[in-house]
Point group: none
Chain length 402, copies 2
């Protein structure tokens, strides 16, 4: 994204709604993709009067995780801002992260004679794991001047955040995983690659030792391993960057967490599409930008459930008129990446996108599908251009140069 | 533009004609754009046998001014070479600028008791303003070792160029405007942000004081304010960069000025399309590259005059066979940016472009319109690629690598 953008932002009272159908793009099975198979008259009609195209989330051939996928459509080059695994895990468990935090995901494990004999502590039940994590939180609220915040996860998983008194420098998270990756091996010592990382490693070492003491009578979960140690990236806020007061409408904690990383408001919303649209309507007067996240298109893609993914698109299509009735100045509908049922996973394929405003050509795509969007006026372009294009369509960018 | 290009330039006796229909691209009103509404059989036929596409002048969503718009199609990345407001104003008034110059636009203003009481000196008549500016030129030809060159403008406006004995370093134009922006306030002192800028500010201060003395008996125009102080960018010449001896054919001074910034020859030409084509024919033997600028498409777009813009395209279409009869090796037809009548202003929308030579696929666009060009073999691409593509089609680029 051009550096000049910062100097061109102007505010007005327009509203931009961005709907993210997670994992939107697909691939043909028996000749048609999920989007082509779905009966979506409202989306198709909207596509015919919108600017359409395909966005490349990160770079050609690169399959993004949810972090880079969302950063791109939020207007950040995902190669400039990498979100560590520990941070994403913590966000997914609903933790609030500050810029003084280092986050990591953790496993309960079984240790015997100094060796890891089960890396997942026999996949202990979530209920038991939760109790142990609560115990750890109670017993280890702080190490030195660092606060510890624990969050229970599924089965043997949990997350920990080290909250330091001050912001840490870049590279403070250069601490290795302690998981030896193979059973029958001793765990690794956490080692920091620089002075501030050594401080993080020191706290990690003390945490492991204290946990070992507390868990020593546990049959299976008598040890903890730390993985994906990562600092929250010092990413500029969405408001500072684009001048937009933004609301995230997402049922799943990870997506609210990603939005919170860039300073969007992220109140809890429960339910599915209907409840999200009610939420949008209720808060419509109070924000400039709305990120509305619909998860299930991705989940069904990951399951390889072609029909269910198509049905979910049809369900969204039925709700689309309710969004249109709000008359947003700019409406963007896209995904964070493709999740073809054929692959049962995220993929590298460019993602359909439509931008609707009074200032588009339109008429180039006859439906909202991968192949029809390939014909559109936006072409095939990097995801991080969607935000500047949305701002332009909302009259929120001044002219560059005289 | 790729750095490797410099090493690949080879000369031959081909000719490249680039027609710039200023503000070419538009948006639909009642379903059709200006280009779609215009009856342009010659352009449409040419588009069918040309490489077509849409160019992005600066970056997606960015609306360019005339400066960045032209730099892009001249093969320069407009984000690397920003042209200050004062420079553009001076070029628009027909001033010749050298790389030792600092240019600024100026206002006559009314000062009373040290406060600016009218920022435009009651919009004094152009005739009176012209006389005052001639007086200033006569009385202040030089300050220290700096020559001053004045150019009268409309009403209260004029421009001044400081011609230093030697080229100034980057940042020498980091001097603030002296306009307080609001009436009832004192003017600002010009202050330089670094050593060489302080030298410029010093001359500015002396100029303001000398002018105040000269204008002290004027009722309204008794003070001058300086704005948009800018150095001529140290931009490499078009000839050095592309090996082309270039002629600009433009009626409006600003566009000749922009061309002169990169070293094109810019003799004065008067009239409209017919006269420009005569000029092209007359000079056809003596240059490799011809930049022919047609202004009115933009002017009518800015006026919101859809029909007049379409008519201007039809007028150009009637002259197109005369250009074709010269049999240029490469003919490029495009705009510097879009100016949709719907928006009555420059816009961010990609601009139709066709490149005609014997070495194109063709057959992808049925007409020369925004939507048909979106289907073309050039795709949607950055404006600064047009020049390398033109060179390639002219056989003026060697192979890269073995």
């Amino acid at each position: 994204m051009p550096e000049v953008l910062d100097t061109l932002i102007q505010k007005n009272d327009t509203k931009i709604v961005m709907v993210v159908l997670d994992g939107l793009g697909g691939l043909p099975i028996n000749g048609t993709t999920e989007m082509e198979a779905a009966n979506t008259p409202n989306l198709d009609s909207l596509a015919r009067r919108s600017a359409t195209g395909l966005h490349i989330p990160v770079a050609p051939g690169i399959t993004p995780g949810s972090g880079p996928g969302h950063l791109g459509i939020f207007g950040y080059n995902p190669m400039d801002w990498q979100i560590g695994r520990g941070v994403l895990e913590a966000l997914g468990l609903g933790m609030e992260l500050k810029n003084t935090d280092v986050a990591m995901r953790c496993n309960y494990a079984t240790m015997k004679d100094g060796l890891i004999v089960d890396r997942r502590a026999g996949r202990i039940p979530t209920e038991q794991s939760k109790k142990l994590t609560e115990l750890l939180q109670k017993e280890i609220p702080q190490i030195d001047d660092v606060k510890l915040i624990f969050a229970p996860g599924m089965e043997h998983r949990f997350a920990v955040v080290f909250r330091f008194p001050d912001e840490l420098p870049d590279g403070a998270d250069l601490v290795n995983d302690t998981d030896p990756q193979k059973e029958g091996k001793p765990p690794l010592e956490p080692v920091g690659k620089n002075e501030s990382a050594r401080k993080v490693a020191e706290v990690a070492k003390k945490l492991i030792a204290r946990a070992q003491e507390i868990l020593k009578d546990q049959e299976r979960a008598n040890y903890i391993m730390l993985r994906g140690i990562a600092r929250v990236p010092a990413i500029p806020s969405f408001h500072d960057k684009f001048g937009l007061k933004a609301l995230a409408i997402a049922v799943y904690p990870m997506y609210r967490g990603l939005a919170r990383l860039i300073g969007m408001d992220t109140p809890v919303v429960q339910g599915d599409i209907a409840e999200e649209i009610d939420f949008l309507k209720k808060h419509y007067d109070r924000y400039d930008f709305f990120f509305m996240h619909i998860k299930k298109t991705d989940s069904y893609g990951e399951d390889g459930n072609f029909e269910a993914k198509a049905k979910k698109l049809e369900e969204f299509d039925r709700y689309l008129p309710e969004i249109l009735s709000l008359k947003p100045d700019v409406l963007v509908i896209t995904g964070d990446h493709s999740t073809p049922s054929l692959l049962k996973s995220h993929s590298w394929h460019p993602v359909p996108v439509l931008i609707n405003s009074p200032y588009v050509l339109g008429g180039l795509s006859s439906a909202f599908t991968e192949r029809e969007c390939a014909k559109g006026e936006l072409g095939i372009f990097s995801a991080y251009h969607i935000l500047p294009l949305s701002l332009a369509n909302a009259g929120r960018l001044k002219k560059f140069g005289a």
